[in-house]
Amino acid sequence: MALQDIRQRSGYLFLAVVLAQIILISAQVNSRTGVPVLESVTFGLFAEVQRSASAAVSSVRHLWGGYIGLRHAKAENEELKRQLADAQIQLQEQRALADRSRSLEQLLQLRNNSDVQTVAAEIIGDAAAPDFRTMTIDKGTNDGLRPDMAVIAPAGVVGRVVVPSGRAAKVQLLIDRNAAAGALIARSRAQGVVVGEGDERLRLEYVSEVADVVTGDLVVTSGIDGIFPKGFVIGRIESVEKASGMYKRIVVKPAVDFRSLEEVLVVLTPSPAREAEGRTE
């Protein structure tokens, strides 16, 4: 049966026998390098197998390394993201600290430059209702604060203390509808009263129609209200209009950005007017 199969497949047998003898010949014939052809060919083939195996292993290792590296990279990426987030937070903290330091430095400079005695306070709260423009500071009667004490910032006037408690105080901002302060035009010395509008603008009232007021004039406190010391910046004239009556309609843009306030100074020294009032009483 097997012999019959062999006979039916004589071609394969022929090729096998021929191949075997070629191998036999190759084992005896030296190549140009002096190495037997069989050894050379076998080594060459085996080297190719080794090269392929090495390439396969290298690919697998590379792939595995890439996978592991990718996983490590992912973990590293997450770690770096976390570090970056931390660094950004720290940067913000440092920036805030720097801003606060700058702000405090400005406050300190303001305090040193002014003749009034002040206490620095940090804003810890805002108004409970949008119709009221107030804020809460972290200093109260324990720190010497009393009602109607002026609250200022490096940029200008902020408001006045309305409700002090032991360790905190409510400050009415100058832009509140019920707030007002004596003012004058720094250039022309024209006097008037600054009144809050409830928004980010002030209204300068009681300025004579003949008064020399132009847009851009600096408005400062006049000190006649007995609350705000004289000469503190309120803002600049934004618009001047003729009104039907005796006075001009003047809009003032406050010097203080009330939305970005963080620290303020509370003026402990009473203004000369208030001092005079006290003496009169």
């Binding site: 004589s10 047998l13 026998v17 021929v18 003898q21 070629i22 036999l24 010949i25």
Partner: protein, 172 residues
């Protein structure tokens, strides 16, 4: 049984070749008795028997004729190819007459020489000059021996039978 007979024939051919080689090589006509046996077996038994006989006989011949510059396997390869092709010819064509057999033996010898010498030349192991006359002579010799062998093998059984019949008539 047939394989044993083939091996025996190859062995005898090798023995004769080695013992008669000095006469044959120095003579005008060279004969490769082993090749004759291979072609004979191929024509008689087919390509598989031919290639197996060629492989075995060629390897044995290579081993026996081993010299420093020779390669074991070249003769085997040549005889394997020749045995296979001779077997194919024997199965595809009617090779029952002396002339076709002569052509087959002659062609097989030329092919064998081409492969054998070609491989040696190709491997730069041995140079044969211009072997046309030698190859032609060997092909002629192999063809003659082969045809005679066929005739003898075919006629021998009948002659023996006739001889026996004549002897039996004398006794009566």
């Amino acid at each position: 049984m047939r394989a044993a007979a083939v091996i025996a024939a190859v062995a005898i051919a090798l023995a004769l070749q080695t013992t008669l080689a000095r006469f044959l090589v120095r003579g005008v006509v060279g004969v490769d008795l082993v090749l004759v046996v291979v072609v004979y077996v191929a024509l008689m038994a087919g390509s598989v028997s031919g290639l197996l006989t060629g492989a075995v006989a060629g390897l044995m011949q290579d081993i026996v004729t081993r010299v420093p510059s020779s390669i074991i396997g070249i003769g085997g390869l040549a005889k394997t190819i020749v045995g296979f092709l001779a077997g194919v010819v024997g199965t595809q064509f009617i090779v029952a007459q002396p002339l076709p057999r002569f052509v087959v033996f002659f062609s097989a010898t030329v092919l064998h020489a081409v492969i054998f010498m070609g491989l040696y030349v190709l491997l730069d192991l041995r140079h044969f000059g211009t072997p046309v006359a030698a190859v032609g002579g060997q092909a002629l010799g192999n063809a003659l021996v082969g045809v005679v062998a066929f005739q003898v093998a075919e006629l021998l059984p009948g002659a023996v039978e006739r001889r026996r019949a004549q002897r039996s008539q004398f006794r009566r």
